[in-house]
Symmetry: C2
Subunit: 415 residues, 2 copies
């Protein structure tokens, strides 16, 4: 007890010291930092008055081409590992493409028939911890969400298989398959295969496969990810998966290009809606990406530059967490090889207090519960750490504040 | 009869002459021509690595700002004649914003309550001739369309008032209020006032006010249009109207910016959906528009340059139609002061034949019926002429072919 009092006293003095510094640090959002964005500045002016025409004389300034500039479809079908016929390139937001796909399923039902989702009881499987904006879409459309544990090799397949084979109301699932938000986990080949072949009671079961971090490795090369679209086709379920990606964290978050891929009857079904929705996407911005990156190697080389910048930031946070918390049994965290986040679990019932305390010390963290459906983390333990946006000095300070808050709350709670 | 045979003979020889020329001309689409697009080339490179930050240090390359860059909202709220709080700036397509607004009404019902439109019998009033893509949206959502005559002072208000006061299923109407597609007509102040105050049986009646040609005058200055949003607010119906606009035919059709405005509970209702749909629009492209045009005078000066180019094209078509058809009682056409089209009515039951015959001679015209819901022109007489895209020589040839086909079909039919 004396030792604990001593530790608490020491932590209190560090906390008082933080307070005196009047910090205002923000670790809430998975945003690239300024030096990362600078890597893409060539995009701003690479299409000019001499080269706005794409191949075959297409004037990118004018109307037309519903599903993407052919050159962009060629490059980004390699990026997605699909054929140019399977890809649709849209505006600047893959989230928007996901939302629109849900909206279409709600209003019309799927490409393979079945009642509109709006008229059905409907549930979605959600790997947790996961991406809050996915859950927002489900909530928006009144789709009941069911938590599925996210493991180092992907979502818990046994539970998923059990659910989908028996419950017709389970119409689909989310998954960030590579460097998942926030764990950084990547689905194994076995997980991918099982997702493709598993029998589902629901005839139009859909997987929303958000490959948001397709090339977002942290220094050790791109994690391989088995090809779910091909596996689904082989398994006789070509319409099961919609794959999404974007260049938001490759070029610019505000002005990248978003894309999706699908097979079987899905592409025609999607384009039918697209035709009612728009004359066509921004082709100039697609051409900017083609000219700037040139080819897949160009994209990977560019991502190595990103990795060099943010790899150091991830390492700095991991070093501080280790130095402060190793061996204390107060927290466990992931050591991602890619992506934008570190997922940290405190002891049960501590996350909310830690986040609140850090906030009082001027360090803004993603609100407690955000990584779970309905913002409800049943064990109140998950904290999403976003190391990319703050500069190095701020980041180290924020990580230190977080680690001290974890220690203080853990000790105080153990009362 | 002899005179008629002589005329037919003469027309036949002109037709044979056209055929020999193996023409391939296209007057189908309201697309700006290349010289018009060149006017905007400065947009391509005006945001560069030195000025990508907007006012208040906003990094336009990064995430954020759901409803538009503040500077863009300021400029384009003047463009739309609304306040910055009333405007939302989106991606490159105002059609997409219209579609999304319909989708939201279908799934959720309106900002002022009422059942989701998807669960209701629903009808829409459609001024005709009108814009085919508006009708496509209604068809896509299963909304029954009712034709309303478009007159020189706007849609036929007496018929509209009669419909909306008695039929609860009429949930809204389309209108292109200024330089309407394809007639070029502009709503009078009286029409606007009557739309604002008319009693509607449907509690959440909505007007989709597509001000697509807000500044698209042809040489005699911008047509004044009464302010429907203010009139609706004054009449106690602030949520009645959604106004749409875009810079598609101001800057670039493929890479302009789209916007909408609304009042009362509508902006918050729209943003609730927008939050589920996207992290935010392309702010770099908004900044390009702000830097390039600077202010409202800059936009108007730019549109004068457009007017000088397309004014000549409209005049050339009108001159040929007059020279070929005046005094023959075979066709009537509009003489627009702005917009992108000339609307021509043949004698009844002739449009389809004329368009088909012109097509055989290598002149592609907008398919018969396109300007009506369900592609059904009840009198088979309307032809939409789009003079802007072809170069002058092609355009004159195409207009001549059209005029000759009209004469031939009219004479042959009168048989």
């Amino acid at each position: 007890m004396a030792e604990k009092q001593e530790q608490l006293q020491l932590l209190k003095s560090r906390i008082a010291d933080f307070k005196a510094q009047k910090l205002t640090l923000d670790m809430t959002r998975g945003k690239p930092g300024t030096t990362q964005l600078d890597l893409g500045n060539g995009l701003l002016t690479c299409v000019n008055e001499t080269n706005y025409r794409a191949r075959d004389g297409i004037d990118t300034r004018n109307y037309g081409i519903l599903d993407g500039l052919p050159q962009a479809k060629e490059l980004f079908s390699q990026y997605m590992g699909v054929t140019p016929e399977e890809i649709i390139i849209g505006g600047n937001s893959s989230l928007n493409m996901m939302y629109d796909t849900f909206a279409q399923l709600m209003t019309y039902g799927s490409s393979t028939g079945g009642d509109p989702w709006s008229s059905r009881k409907k549930k979605f499987l959600c790997p947790v911890p996961g991406y809050d904006r996915h859950f927002t879409i489900c909530e928006h459309f009144g789709i009941r969400m069911i938590n599925i544990d996210m493991n180092p090799d992907g979502p818990d397949m046994e539970t998923i298989e059990e659910y989908v084979k028996s419950d017709e109301d389970i119409v689909g699932m989310w998954c960030v398959p590579r460097y998942s938000n926030p764990t950084g986990y990547t689905c194994s080949a076995e997980t991918v295969e099982r997702l493709a072949v598993m029998p589902t009671k629901c005839k139009d079961f859909r997987i929303f496969w958000d490959d948001a971090y397709a090339v977002h490795f942290l220094g050790s090369g791109r994690a391989p990810l088995a090809d779910l679209l091909t596996a689904c086709k082989k398994a006789g379920n070509p319409e099961r998966v919609f794959i999404f990606a974007s260049t938001s964290k490759v070029s610019f978050p505000g002005a990248g290009i978003a894309m999706m891929a699908s097979a079987g009857q899905n592409p025609a079904w999607l384009k039918k809606r697209l035709f009612a929705q728009t004359i066509g996407p921004d082709k100039i911005n697609m051409l900017r990406h083609v000219i700037f990156f040139k080819n897949m190697e160009g994209i990977l080389r560019h991502m190595e530059k990103h990795a060099r910048i943010i790899g150091l930031k991830f390492q700095a946070v991991l070093d501080i967490l280790s130095a402060e918390l190793d061996g204390k049994d107060m927290a466990a965290w992931t050591r991602p090889q890619g992506g934008y986040f570190i997922s940290l679990n405190t002891r049960n019932n501590c996350a909310r207090k830690v986040i609140s305390m850090a906030g009082e010390l001027g360090v803004k963290l993603t609100p407690a519960g955000s990584t779970f459906p309905y913002k409800n983390d049943p064990l109140d333990r998950n904290i999403r750490i976003a190391p990319t946006f703050p500069d190095m000095e701020d980041l180290k300070k924020a990580a230190e504040v977080l680690a001290v808050c974890i220690q203080y709350v853990s000790l105080a709670q153990a009362g």
